[in-house]
């Protein structure tokens, strides 16, 4: 994992803090500490308002939890942040820049990558192909470079470098033994591992994980969590959707509670735990 760890977010943050940008506008400071800022996000599908003015920030280098009962709008919020859906209103700011309405690939290239609630492996590709796909700026993605004799050797060189990284990440996630397997043949838990590993290979600053532990057995869940913590220590920022309260409470520094499309409350796990509104929301609200 050494490669990805080469550029922890703190480094970038410090640079900007001390540099001209920090002096230029103090307002930018918050965007540095809070790489992701979501303001007044709204989205409705026909009659259903899935996200209704959600506003929150995610602090750099933290593992932030986003919880809420089923249907609270968590996945839709993810889709809005990552450009898979366009919001009806509101803004998304990443690293101080307005990214509202950008295409998913643009946002991914800015360093924010997501995983899907239902793992979306590329079935008819091997685990290795899935992984090799992810890294950014691959020279061979230009058709002419991949085809032209001579130039293709450059591509080959880069492929060799990528392959080493891919195997390192496979080892890190302990899925090297299924490397040659077609992704469609993996178990549910293995698909989740593959998704997270693949997302990491894009060298993101921030990862949005949508219920990465759903359908994952307890042993594997523990392992995945260890990975997440380890990566967070290396400087990655995480926004984690989960509807299992205990898991969030035991692992996140900061918790945001989403209810009916807007933020009900947020705070440390202890604050959330003692918040009656949250308990109500989870127990079915104002019945």
């Amino acid at each position: 994992m050494s490669d990805a760890a080469d550029q922890p977010v703190e480094d970038v943050a410090n640079k900007v803090d001390e540099g001209a940008l920090g002096a230029f506008a103090s307002g930018v400071d918050t965007s540095v500490d809070y790489p992701l800022q979501v303001e007044g996000l709204e989205k409705s599908f026909g009659g259903i308002t899935a996200v209704d003015g959600a506003t929150f920030e995610v602090e750099s280098g933290t593992l932030t939890g986003l919880i809420g009962p089923n249907g609270a709008g968590k996945s839709t919020t993810f889709n809005l942040i990552t450009g898979m859906l366009k919001p009806d209103a509101g803004t998304v700011t990443f690293n101080g820049e307005d990214i509202t309405g950008e295409e998913p690939h643009q946002i991914a290239n800015r360093g924010m990558v997501r995983t899907f609630q239902i793992a979306r492996e590329l079935s008819e590709m091997t685990v290795l192909e899935n992984m090799m796909l992810a890294p950014k700026h691959q020279r061979g993605e230009a058709l002419w470079r991949s085809v032209m004799p001579g130039v293709r050797d450059d591509v080959r060189e880069q492929e060799e470098e990528l392959l080493e990284r891919v195997w390192e990440v496979l080892d890190f996630f302990d899925i090297a033994h299924i490397a040659e397997e077609y992704a469609g043949n993996l178990s549910g838990g293995q698909r989740k591992l593959l998704e997270m590993a693949r997302a990491l290979l894009t060298d993101p600053d921030m990862l949005l994980l949508d219920e990465p532990f759903a359908g994952v057995n307890p042993t594997l869940e523990k392992k995945l969590l260890e990975h997440v913590h380890e990566l967070r220590e290396q400087g990655y920022t995480f926004l984690l959707v989960e509807h299992d309260m205990d898991l969030i409470m035991n692992n996140c520094e900061h918790v945001i509670v989403l209810h009916q499309g807007s933020v009900l409350t947020e705070g440390t796990p202890d604050e959330i735990r003692s918040n009656e509104e949250v308990i109500e929301a989870y127990l079915g609200g104002n019945v």
Binding site: M1, S2, H105, L122, E129, L133, S146, F172
Partner: protein, 455 residues
């Protein structure tokens, strides 16, 4: 893992060996049938040349379609439209300029054939771009509707009286309407040989061929050599598309085929990849069309009916979408068995029953079968209408394939989309050996996932 897979694994030379084997078997069958028919050597050579020609064009088309469908998941059912544009643009660029009183109603720009071919390919690619830009952003099936509509629009445009003739760069050119265009310029083989200065040598070779085929050997030799040239083009297509597929570019195409949203979420500008893949495939379809029709000496819009598109689809499905080797094989098998085969079979049957007149109507054909259990008239009737039945046979083959082998002969051979083999680099130890390892034991997955994994 069926028996068939084991069989293909045992063929020496792998996939290339398989292709050669299938080609040899096909040619052998044709030559044997030729003997039964009492063909002269000239007849045999001609039938081999024709067979090679169709194997060549269908293999090229099926390779190009494999890039669209097998690799990128783009549902193009307007193949023949791109072929048509390739051929017509080549014709307009290459035809000699108009002279009043000449045989041709319209002229062209009078440029060399290679310029015409490049222009034809470019035009097909640009038409691909125009079609793809709006359709690719919509759901996948829109592309299907748009492409087939486009191919019919193209055909009707070439048929139209309005465009029969018009002025281009001060030259009287046109599409010739329903009567089409005379391609009054040197065919590709001659143009190529003249271009490389081998034309006289070739004529000498043709003369020498009189030892084998005494009278007028040129058409025979032309056919055979052009067949070889087409196989050379198939090899070039294969080379190009294999490199395209086995690369980071091809990896993104494959990912788009599997799940476009995922590729997009991983930072790939999928629209751009789809457009590039689509344009490249369209250019190759244009080239295949040019190589098919320009040697015929004339072209009419009616050739470009949608059935040609479906022929190519059948070829690809037989061979197996997703595999370049399968595409070549599918093209060859389609050309030999389904396209040329029935005509050959018809000749065979009429040679075996030379004295029978086939019945003229269905009633006459069926009544002996019912009253006297005499199947011969019915058989002859069937054979007599084999050209019409050809499409039915193709349909049946498709249905059979869908039920029994939806992945085709070599489909889902899953040619790995990378420049290098993806096995663990030798420089790395088996368990990675990195310091930051969090694995406590290697058995977690195996134990935890239980029997869910396959191997």
């Amino acid at each position: 893992m069926s028996v068939r897979d084991d069989f293909t694994d045992r063929i020496p030379g792998g996939d290339a060996g398989l292709i050669v084997l299938v080609l040899l078997a096909t040619y052998l069958a044709y030559v044997l049938a030729g003997f039964v028919l009492g063909y002269t050597l000239r007849g045999q050579l001609n039938s081999i040349a024709t067979l090679t020609f169709y194997i060549g064009v269908f293999a090229m088309l099926s390779l190009a379609l494999n890039l669209h469908w097998g690799y990128t998941g783009l549902f193009n059912i307007g193949i023949v439209g791109f072929m048509a544009v390739g051929v017509y643009v080549t014709a307009i660029v290459t035809k000699p300029t108009y002279v009043a009183g000449g045989a041709a109603q319209v002229g062209g720009l009078g440029l060399p054939l290679w310029v015409g071919i490049l222009a034809g390919m470019l035009a097909a690619a640009l038409l691909g771009l125009v079609v793809a830009l709006p359709a690719l952003r919509l759901r996948a099936d829109y592309l299907a509707i748009v492409t087939i509509a486009m191919s019919e629009i193209v055909r009707f445009s070439f048929l139209s009286g309005e465009l029969q003739q018009f002025q281009l760069f001060g030259n009287r050119v046109g599409f010739g309407g329903g009567s089409g265009l005379i391609l009054d310029f040197a065919p590709p083989l001659e143009a190529l040989l003249r271009g490389v200065g081998l034309w006289d040598a070739y004529l000498g070779f043709v003369d020498a061929f009189q030892v084998v085929v005494p009278r007028n050997p040129k058409p025979v030799v032309d056919g055979l050599i052009y067949g070889l040239l087409l196989l050379g083009f198939v090899a070039a297509f294969y080379w190009l598309l294999k490199r395209t597929g086995e690369s980071p570019f091809g990896r993104v195409l494959k990912a788009i085929r599997e799940d476009e949203d995922v590729a997009n979420a991983l930072g790939k500008n999928t629209d751009r990849f789809k457009i590039k893949s689509f344009m490249l495939g369209c250019a190759l379809m244009g080239l295949a069309g040019i190589l098919w029709l320009v040697p015929q000496g004339a072209v009419t819009p009616n050739f470009f009916r949608p059935r040609v598109t479906f022929f190519v689809w059948i070829a690809l499905i037989i061979g197996g979408a997703g595999s370049n080797t399968g595409s070549v094989l599918g093209g060859a098998v389609f050309a030999a068995v389904l396209y040329q085969g029935p005509r050959y079979f018809q000749n065979l049957v009429t040679a075996v029953f030379p004295n029978f007149d086939s019945p003229s109507g269905f009633g006459q054909a069926i009544s002996p079968l019912i009253s006297q259990f005499d199947p011969v008239p019915f058989l002859l009737y069937t054979v007599d209408s084999i050209r019409q039945l050809q499409l039915v046979v193709m349909g049946l083959v498709l249905i059979w394939l869908m039920h029994n082998r939806p992945e085709g002969m070599l489909g889902y051979r899953k040619e790995t989309a990378s420049v290098i083999p993806l096995s663990r680099p030798k420089s790395m130890t088996a368990d990675g050996g990195d310091d930051d390892s969090v694995r406590t034991d290697g058995g977690v997955d195996a134990a935890a996932e239980g029997g869910e994994t396959d191997e």
